[in-house]
């Protein structure tokens, strides 16, 4: 599978996350250090749903360790890239 640019992943993530937040304008100034719960006000209970949506979008699967890394947007992108790489090597 060909690698997907970080910017492309970010755009897809923004689309996924927008469904889960009331104030969509929070996505405008998003950076890698943006916190899903703290900054974007995602209900912590819905993180699992965002993960499911990302899994479907990128055809990957998060493992338990992945969940420890996804507090920030940058962490999410890293996990997605890592899983895409292991898919490509499979």
């Amino acid at each position: 599978m060909k690698m997907i640019e970080k910017e492309v992943i970010l755009e897809e993530l923004k689309k996924i996350i927008s469904v889960y937040i009331a104030d969509k304008s929070l996505l405008e100034n998003i950076t890698e250090s943006t916190l899903l719960s703290g900054d974007l006000k995602v209900n912590s209970g819905h993180i699992v749903d965002i993960v499911l949506d990302a899994e479907a979008q990128f055809d990957i699967e998060f493992d338990d360790a992945s969940f420890d890394k996804i507090a920030t947007i940058g962490g999410c992108i890293e996990v997605i890239q890592e899983k895409l790489r292991s898919n490509a090597n499979r």
Partner: protein, 413 residues
């Protein structure tokens, strides 16, 4: 008040339908696919997208339980009808909710079980539990309305909706809340209906004529027709309601909840007649009304052999028969038996009759059961709408487990 019923979604459409005797029953292809004996059901014509203003996008997208969808719609309609604000940031600490359910949406449950059996339980997401938990409807409603008092769910089979109203009434009467969202819901699930079909309590003889399939009080009644829906009433302490100038539909004079104890002829599935009569009598007594002043009985009357027994129980408890019997009708003739939702939807109908001054027709009993005709005069069962002032209505429902509930509604003065 708010309602999602097989023959009308929303109070205006529902009021029109019950006045005109419009049936909401139809042939259900999913019941045919399951090879059920009964293939007729009452499914509300409901579009879940109408909930978009009230539920976050991600929550609505994953809301599979039709019962919860109906409950949310009916609750929002009722709350707004009562002149109360929706979606404001504040919490109403004086308001609570009792929203009953009979059986959680098995169709939604099945989706999750299939995932789990495919070893994909991780894909259930965050909104599965809240839809299969029994208090799911009350929890969703709370998210929309912001209620700060007790928020809970009751369950008493087919008397659930009647019971929820009386539980909320007690709560206010005790001074523990000023207003309550009270009602019940049942999903439109052919898997639920299949379970009743297996008991052979559904009518299998009218699959080709669905609007004639629900025949309460008829000699050819051959079982009930299942349905889904929700009904919600906002109950409020009188002075508070008057002070804020709320629209008042009716007053609850009193009511009673009891059980026949599954003794003396009462079983898991059939009521003990002594228990039923005690329930009616207790409701009359604690309402302090003269049984002769009851204008209308909104019966349980499901279209089984039990209809004639119910009419006899009413007659004995009220001490009235023949021409002296009050009017009696069955909403189930138009919408089938909405199981746990039946008590609340039928209570909405009872209150509408008080408020507007009419008695809705009880259809499909042209061939009145002779034992019923021997107890009460056939003129007491309207075939078409009767327009007349109605001051006092008794509404009762009975459920599996031998449980009974009866409410006395009075026209608001």
């Amino acid at each position: 008040m708010g309602v999602v019923a097989p023959n009308g979604v929303g109070i205006p459409a529902f009021t029109h339908a019950i006045r005109k005797g419009i049936s909401g029953l139809s042939f259900v292809p999913a019941m045919e696919q399951l090879k059920l004996g009964c293939q007729v059901g009452g499914i509300p014509d409901f579009d879940e997208n109408t909930l978009a203003p009230w539920l976050p996008e991600n929550i609505l997208r994953n809301l599979r339980s039709t019962g919860i969808q109906y409950a949310c719609a009916a609750a929002v309609e009722a709350w707004q009808d009562a002149g109360l604000p929706v979606n404001n940031e504040a919490i109403d600490w004086d308001a609570g909710c009792i929203m009953g359910t009979g059986i959680c949406d098995i169709t939604a449950l099945r989706w999750g079980i299939h995932l789990a059996d495919d070893l994909l339980a991780r894909k259930l997401g965050s909104t599965y539990v809240q839809q299969i938990m029994f208090s799911g409807a009350s929890a969703y409603i709370n998210g929309i309305l912001g209620l700060g008092n007790q928020v809970s769910a009751n369950s008493a089979a087919c008397s659930t909706g009647t019971e929820s109203i009386l539980m909320a009434y007690d709560k206010i009467k005790l001074g523990h809340a000023k207003r309550m969202v009270a009602g019940s819901c049942e999903s439109s699930s052919h898997y639920i209906w299949g379970a009743f079909d297996a008991m052979r309590v559904l009518n299998r003889r009218h699959n080709n004529n669905p609007t004639a399939a629900s025949r309460p009080m008829s000699e050819t009644a051959a079982g009930f027709i299942p349905g889904g829906g929700a009904g919600v009433l906002i109950l409020e302490e009188r002075e508070t309601a008057l002070a804020r100038g709320a629209k008042i539909y009716a007053e609850i004079r009193g009511g009673a909840i009891n059980s026949g104890g599954q003794r003396m002829g009462g079983t898991m599935t059939a009521p003990n007649n002594a228990g039923v009569q005690r329930c009616f009598e207790a409701a009359i007594n604690n309402s302090q009304v003269d049984p002769n002043s009851v204008d209308l009985v909104c019966g349980h009357l499901t279209a089984t052999f039990a209809d004639k027994v119910e009419v006899s129980n009413w007659s004995r408890a009220l001490g009235r028969e023949g021409m002296n019997f009050p009017y009696i009708n069955s909403l189930k003739s138009m919408i089938g038996h909405c199981l746990a939702a039946t008590g609340s939807i039928e209570s909405v109908a009872a209150v509408l009759q008080l408020y507007h001054g009419f008695i809705h027709p009880s259809i499909n009993c042209e061939d009145l059961h002779p034992e019923i005709a021997a107890t009460i005069d056939p003129s007491r069962i309207p075939a078409t709408e009767i327009k007349q002032d109605v001051k006092l209505v008794m509404k009762a429902n009975f459920g599996f487990g031998d449980v009974n509930a009866c409410i006395v509604f009075e026209k608001a003065i």
